[in-house]
Amino acid sequence: MKKLINDPQRVVPESLRGFGLAHPEHVVVHEDPLFVSRAGGAVKGKVGLVSGGGSGHEPLHAGYVGAGMLDAAVPGAMFTSPTPEPILEATKAADGGAGVLHIVKNYTGDVLNFETAAELAEAEDITVKAVVVNDDVAVEDSLYTAGRRGVAGTVLVEKIAGAAAERGDDLDAVVAVAEKVIKNVRSMGVALTACTVPHAGKPSFDLADDEIEIGIGIHGEPGRHKIAMAGADEITERLLEPVLEDLKIGSGEKVLLFVNGMGGTPLSELYLVYNHAHDVLAGKGLEVTRSLVGNYITSLEMQGASITVLRLDEELTQLWDAPVNTPALRRGV
């Protein structure tokens, strides 16, 4: 394991301290408990947005704190959901009096810790609602299981719900927008290599030189199955097909196409995947009207990518286009 770190136990706080020093105009990094809030504090009268989860997915979530997106983010230990206390403090910091939305990725740990924090916040008279993102079609959904994971779709939920809050929607309306995104977004990912969590010191799974993992999540967990290494076009199709099928999307609809890197894949390869994904969508009569390509939700240095499709309507398109001013996503400001 070679990493640009000092002590494996101090990666998260040292990195966040640097993040705070690099972006004083966007964020304040609180050290104990550890969370990140907007510079300038909560916006009076605006619904506050809080997200969080294990670290190792940078720039998610702290990179999305700022005008038009999150009000606070709670980074846990590496790949480990944060505890209720920092979530509570982040919730307080995000509360401008109009209530707070928790954007939670669907993992048992995230759900449980955010639930507890919400209870604690309610006890302090803050109205909290939560939405749970579960866009990963690699995992079969069922009433009887933990359900689908939340993966790259989370970035789109944060951006679009953030824009809704910024335009003045009340808490229920922001929840409705977030739910609409969740209902219309699906993702699937592939890993060419595993990643190494600093405290583990070993790759998260073993993969031969001629194998790839299809259906991986964002925690270095193994995927649904290994397949033989294939060309980018073929891999793209294998990711895209279940996404489109699950979305039940048809000719004539408009979509946002998001090709996300897992952290260790060159941008050129992401664009190469985008190239073919765009053609596949066009071939099915879908219109790609918005795009996002880059490392927006990662698994440390894992090589791989995920493809996310969001069905767009007029409202979601407008909210996607709305100004946003965060360290990792910026437009219009």
Partner: protein, 216 residues
């Protein structure tokens, strides 16, 4: 010896042993979690119990319940992940009925309360390849031992042995809850890390009881 009850000293010794055994098995728990999860369970538990030990170092708790409550709040505020809230709730519920020394029935009640806490938070049933598969047989065994007239030490030992078996029994299961569920059928053939850490904790409880019993 079979009439001995388990008090505050036992609870403190339990947690001291638990801290040690979790630290010793940190890598093993990471490896188990690496296979079907995200490789942090050993790290999480070790971080939590290290904090628990620090918290208990200065404390002078008056009952097993007070010890367990400190464990609960500390785990909840330091472990994170799925295991943090689950163990936190387990120890919190366990603490509730343990304001005095525990006889065999008290041990059974404590374990049942812990199990109920886990099930309430995690919404998992047996056979889903989670820590529930260690705590369920443990609670059942303790109750059976108590009803059969065993003492507290025997009850906790029966629970520990059942938890070890329960952990073992998760190996062939296909996970439907927790992170391992994402693997579907590929989760079979691996032991559940949370069931294993649960077994380690309950064995520590039994060993503390036996050590106290032996010394008594």
């Amino acid at each position: 010896m079979s009439a001995a009850t388990l008090g505050t000293a036992w609870a403190l010794d339990w947690i001291a042993r638990a801290t040690k055994v979790v630290s010793e098995n940190r890598i093993e728990l990471i490896e188990l979690d690496r296979a079907i999860g995200d490789g942090d369970h050993g790290e999480n538990m070790d971080r939590g119990f290290t904090a628990v030990a620090a918290k208990l170092a200065g404390a002078e708790p008056a009952s097993p319940g007070e010890v367990l409550k400190t464990v609960a709040t500390t785990l909840m505020s330091t472990v994170g992940g799925a295991a943090g809230p689950l163990y936190g709730t387990a120890f919190l519920r366990a603490a509730k009925g343990a304001d005095g020394d525990l006889d065999a029935a008290g041990v059974a009640t404590m374990l049942e309360a812990a199990l109920e806490g886990i099930r309430a938070r995690g919404k998992a049933d047996t056979g889903e390849k989670t820590m529930v598969d260690a705590w369920t047989p443990a609670a059942v065994a303790a109750r059976e031992a108590a009803e059969a007239g065993a003492g507290a030490v025997q009850a906790i030992r029966a629970a520990a042995d059942a938890a070890v078996e329960g952990s073992e029994a998760t190996i062939p299961m296909i996970a439907t809850k927790g992170r391992a569920s994402y693997l579907g059928e590929r989760s079979a053939g691996h032991r559940d890390p949370g069931a294993q850490s649960s077994a380690l904790l309950l064995v520590a409880a039994a060993e503390a009881a036996e050590a106290a019993g032996a010394g008594a």
